[in-house]
């Protein structure tokens, strides 16, 4: 039985073909195989959310999915979200409101916040502070106490709703 296999996937819009060990998690593959170190490895058992990435449009724990499971998938990391400008307003709001200090949790936080805002747009709603807290409940920040993070996401949620 093979403990490694070939996979083909799309990462941040670019085709990738690699030979990976079956045991390699998605986040380790992204960081060590592709050099995309924006996704962080915190707890490695699904608690902290620092490894949050998007697979086929849905946020997942990069540490609780194997790279081999992503054969044929479309993966987006914070580098892709950032380069496309999709989260530029969230990034600016985080900076403006000091919603990060060490920054370790920020890529996962932005990915989870963007997921909420995409859903809100689809449902034509503006998330409340409670809804923001609940959606970000799977992302640990050990610096800020969350208040500024919720402020930043709320400001962007309102700006996006008002601007449309």
């Amino acid at each position: 039985m093979d403990t490694a296999m070939d996979i083909k996937l799309t990462v941040n819009g670019e085709p990738v073909a690699e030979h990976v060990d079956a045991r390699t998690t998605l986040v380790d593959f992204l960081r060590e195989g592709l050099g995309l170190t924006g996704s962080h490895v915190g707890c490695e058992h699904g608690v902290c959310g620092a490894c949050t990435v998007r697979v086929d449009g849905e946020i997942v724990r990069g540490c609780l999915m194997l790279a081999v499971q992503c054969d044929g998938a479309t993966v987006e990391t914070i580098e892709g979200l950032s380069d496309s400008g999709e989260v530029a307003d969230l990034q600016a709001a985080f900076e403006q409101r000091n919603a990060l200090q060490c920054g370790y949790c920020t890529p996962g936080m932005i990915a989870a916040a963007q997921d909420l805002l995409v859903q809100a747009k689809k449902n034509k709603t503006v998330p409340t502070r409670d809804a923001i807290r609940e959606h970000l409940s799977g992302n640990y920040c050990r610096c800020t106490g969350y208040h500024a993070i919720v402020d930043a996401v709320e400001a962007v949620a309102q700006a996006r709703a008002g601007g449309k």
Partner: protein, 279 residues
């Protein structure tokens, strides 16, 4: 930490998955949502030789009303169940529990069948299926069989599943206008495993309740029925139900047994109020 090496094989059909399980038995693990399995692999609490990925098997993720039952396919993702109109309408207890399961990123991957088969004693869904008096559909090398929830959860992470078998679906009785449900849990952080939780069902009977089923989680090796309290609640005696709670939790990393017992009573009062709403 990183997982120990293992081989990986995608099963395209149920038959193929069962054949692989029959061949490799305890050396293999089924990979469904992976939200518990991959964590245990990462921590090397588990080191199988082979992962059999069942995510590509078609037809195992349906949610449908079938006669008197709601059938939820083993591969239905938590997020899919959470947003299902059929579940909201016909299985309201499960709809109530869904937002408490993990976090959005985890609910996008985790599966209904995986949660039931893994049988974590602090997980919400095994307790819900027990409270509902549901049944678990199982496929194995000798065909299919069905096991009632009351007989499915046998011990700590131990179920009636044999090594060559897998869960294919879970069926719960569809709610009617007399169905009452209640759900509450206490966790350190929203979405974390509960310190104590309670899933409950009952039937409205006149001004009171009948057929009360209370299934606690986080207080034993399996989800646990509190049968004495069920009888008290059916008599409308909430104080009596709390006083007769015969749970025997152990201390764990989250709370002592004494705290858990106290919290179980607190939850019982909250859930009793939910059951009696509009009863």
């Amino acid at each position: 930490m990183k997982p120990a090496p293992f081989a990986y094989q995608k099963a395209r059909t149920l038959k193929e998955a069962v054949a692989l399980l029959a061949k490799h038995k305890d050396d293999a693990r089924l990979l469904a949502g992976g939200q518990s399995l991959i964590a245990t692999l990462n921590m090397r609490l588990s080191a199988p030789d082979l992962l059999i990925d069942i995510n590509g098997i078609k037809g195992l993720d349906g949610i449908a009303r079938k006669g008197k039952f709601v059938e939820i396919g083993a591969l239905a993702r938590h997020a899919q169940v959470e947003h299902s109109d059929i579940v909201a309408k016909h299985a309201p207890l499960i709809a109530r529990a869904m937002p408490h399961i993990g976090h959005p990123a985890i609910r996008n991957r985790g599966t209904f069948g995986g949660s039931v088969a893994f049988a974590d004693p602090a997980a919400e869904l095994p307790a819900c299926v027990l409270a509902l008096g549901g049944e678990i559909a199982i496929a194995g090398p000798r065909g299919t069989r069905t096991v009632k929830a009351d007989a499915f959860f046998k011990g700590l992470f131990e179920t009636a599943l044999r090594p060559q078998e897998m869960v294919t679906a879970v069926r719960v009785p569809a709610a009617d206008r007399n169905t009452r449900t209640g759900f509450a849990e206490l966790a350190r952080r929203h979405g974390d495993y509960a310190i104590v939780g309670l899933a409950a069902t009952a039937r409205a009977a006149g001004k009171g309740l009948a057929d009360v089923r209370l299934a606690y989680f986080g207080v034993g090796d399996t989800p646990v029925r509190a049968k004495k309290s069920e009888a008290m609640l059916a008599k409308g005696d909430i104080d009596g139900a709390v006083a007769t709670l015969d749970l025997d939790p152990n201390d764990d990393v989250q709370a002592t047994a004494a705290v858990k017992k106290h919290l179980a009573g607190v939850l019982l009062r909250r859930v009793a109020a939910q059951l009696m709403e509009a009863a």
